[in-house]
């Protein structure tokens, strides 16, 4: 009887604890999920964007949409969820529980190391730099503004360079202290 009760406790814990963990923290990693389907807010004022990658060689740019190696929606969901990440430290689209400048840089580095290899081996393409741009669009994908450069991967130095220099998690604290 004691063995049966121990087994029962073990099985219940094994199946419920991971679920309680993702519910509390609001994250997901298959098959455990906080079920975030449609779990965000979108109204007419919500800015929507398309992410674009473009390769650059000697100031000549190439749209990389045809060279992603997989359907664009899968590529961009992967890129946003696992690589670039939400502005919020914890997001329902991944299983990470914290975010930092160094972790972000590391993920971008690992991602582009792999992606530049895919470009080279599958498409025989290599670039001096790869730009990431965001185009604000409406729901029908009509542009609302000019494409905005988010940053670029420097192929020579193998680093991601952000185009946004106003704040980092590190200097945020300094800015607040100075105020």
């Amino acid at each position: 009887m004691k063995l049966k009760n121990s087994y029962k406790t073990f099985v219940i814990s094994l199946l419920l604890i991971p679920n309680l963990f993702v519910v509390v923290f609001g994250i997901e990693s298959f098959p455990y999920t906080c079920a975030p389907m449609f779990g965000h807010y979108i109204d007419n004022e919500t800015p929507l964007y398309l992410f674009k990658l473009e390769g650059v060689n000697q100031n000549k740019t190439t749209d990389l949409t045809a060279y992603l190696g997989k359907p664009e929606d899968f590529f961009m969901r992967h890129f946003f969820s696992k690589v670039y990440g939400s502005t919020q430290a914890i997001s329902p689209f991944s299983h990470k529980l914290s975010e930092s400048q160094s972790a972000f840089q590391n993920r971008m580095h690992v991602f582009f190391e792999h992606y530049t290899t895919v470009l080279k081996e599958k498409y025989h393409l290599s670039f001096e730099q790869i730009n990431i741009k965001a185009i604000q669009v409406d729901q029908k994908r009509q542009p609302r503004a000019e494409p905005q450069l988010l940053g670029y991967y420097d192929g020579l130095n193998k680093t991601y360079v952000s185009a946004y220099k106003n704040a980092t998690p590190n200097n945020l604290h300094q800015n607040k202290t100075q105020q």
Partner: protein
């Protein structure tokens, strides 16, 4: 024993074994979906394992698991098909249920890495794992028949076929309830709190026509114009999530979705109803009547989403169907329809 009595006994036995019925149907459904997902992975040109793509489960697998060569792919398809069928009929049932859960963790984990977390498979995978571990799932199986009539010569030392401990059934019911409950919580947590109930988000998805757009214009990334500047550091825009898709292509169903999307009262009612429905998931534990009402509502909920957005959740519907208290339904029907009295349903042991 007349044919009618035999039929009645067979129906009674089946109704008494919801977990066996669930095992049979869900193993087939999940096995089929896992194989379909494997084809999808195989078809994607770049299916290599990004270091960043791995789930908690796939990160412990050796690199050879991610090299989907033609030979490996064909072997996997055959193995998963055999595992799913043997788990369904209950031949080495628990072992094959465990293997099916393993393949599901593995294949859908790789799929998540490629870019799509398949929510169709998340709850069914956990239910298959639960079925492998809880009592009462193998009473209608080849294993049970072999043990009873082969090894024990018809004199089973185990409890009667209808005596299943309730905790296994309740654990699976809890997995279902947690899944719906957390979906409601996520809408409030990530959807600007009660603002989600204004119907705008639902309206957006009902109007969405993902299938219309060419490569490069499909996946939208969501920004947040209210985000304070000191919360932005990766870029000046502040991205918070990606959108989901609406795959419905039927003109008639799209017209209905369009009508709903343009009716503000309906949108608010459906949004409030959806969140309330999800948050009230634990009513399934109050009693059988509430459980049946909730699970039937869940099936209708998924059928509506399927009609308006092209997302079927067939496996969820089957799980809900099996977890209903069929004794209560049968009793209700036999009381209403005198002609059903000959079935003579007895009280089920599933609570």
């Amino acid at each position: 024993m007349s044919v009618l009595n035999k039929l009645s006994a067979a129906v009674y036995t089946i109704l008494n074994q919801p977990l066996s019925v669930l095992r049979f149907g869900l193993a087939i459904l999940l096995g089929k979906k896992t194989i379909e997902q494997l084809y999808f992975i195989y078809d994607v040109t770049d299916n290599g394992s990004y270091a960043l793509s791995k789930t908690w489960f796939t990160s412990v697998l050796p690199p050879s698991f991610f090299d989907f060569s033609p030979g490996y792919f064909k072997t996997l398809v055959i193995v998963i098909a055999v595992v799913a069928i043997t788990a369904a009929v209950g031949f080495l049932g628990r072992l094959n249920l465990l293997l099916l859960a393993f393949f599901s963790f593995y294949i859908f984990g790789v799929s998540e890495g490629i870019g799509i977390f398949d929510h169709h498979a998340s709850l069914p995978t956990q239910v298959i794992l639960a079925l492998a571990l809880v009592p009462g799932t193998m009473k209608l199986s080849i294993d049970y028949a072999l043990l009873k009539y082969g090894y024990f010569k018809g004199k089973m030392p185990f409890p009667h076929v209808s005596n299943n401990p309730k905790w296994g059934f309740n654990l699976i019911l809890a997995l279902v309830a947690v899944t719906y409950f957390t979906a409601g919580i996520s809408k409030l947590r990530y959807g600007h709190g009660l603002n989600w109930l204004d119907g705008q988000t639902l309206g957006f998805y009902l109007k969405e026509k993902t299938y219309l757009y060419k490569e490069g214009d499909v996946q939208l990334i969501i920004g947040d114009s209210n985000l304070p500047d000191d919360h932005k550091w990766k870029d000046a825009l502040g991205f918070i999530g990606h959108t989901y898709a609406n795959y419905q292509v039927s003109p008639k169903l799209r017209a209905i979705a369009g009508y709903v999307a343009n009716n503000r009262v309906l949108l608010i009612a459906l949004s409030v109803g959806s969140v309330l429905f999800e948050l009230l998931a634990f009513v399934v534990f109050i009693n059988s009547r509430y459980r049946n009402i909730y699970l039937i509502s869940a099936i209708v909920f998924h059928l509506s989403i399927g009609a308006l957005m092209g997302i079927s959740f067939r496996q969820y519907r089957f799980i809900c169907f099996c977890l209903m208290d069929w004794n209560l339904i049968a009793t209700y029907l036999s009381n209403k329809l005198q002609g059903f009295k000959w079935l003579g349903f007895k009280k089920l042991s599933t609570g």
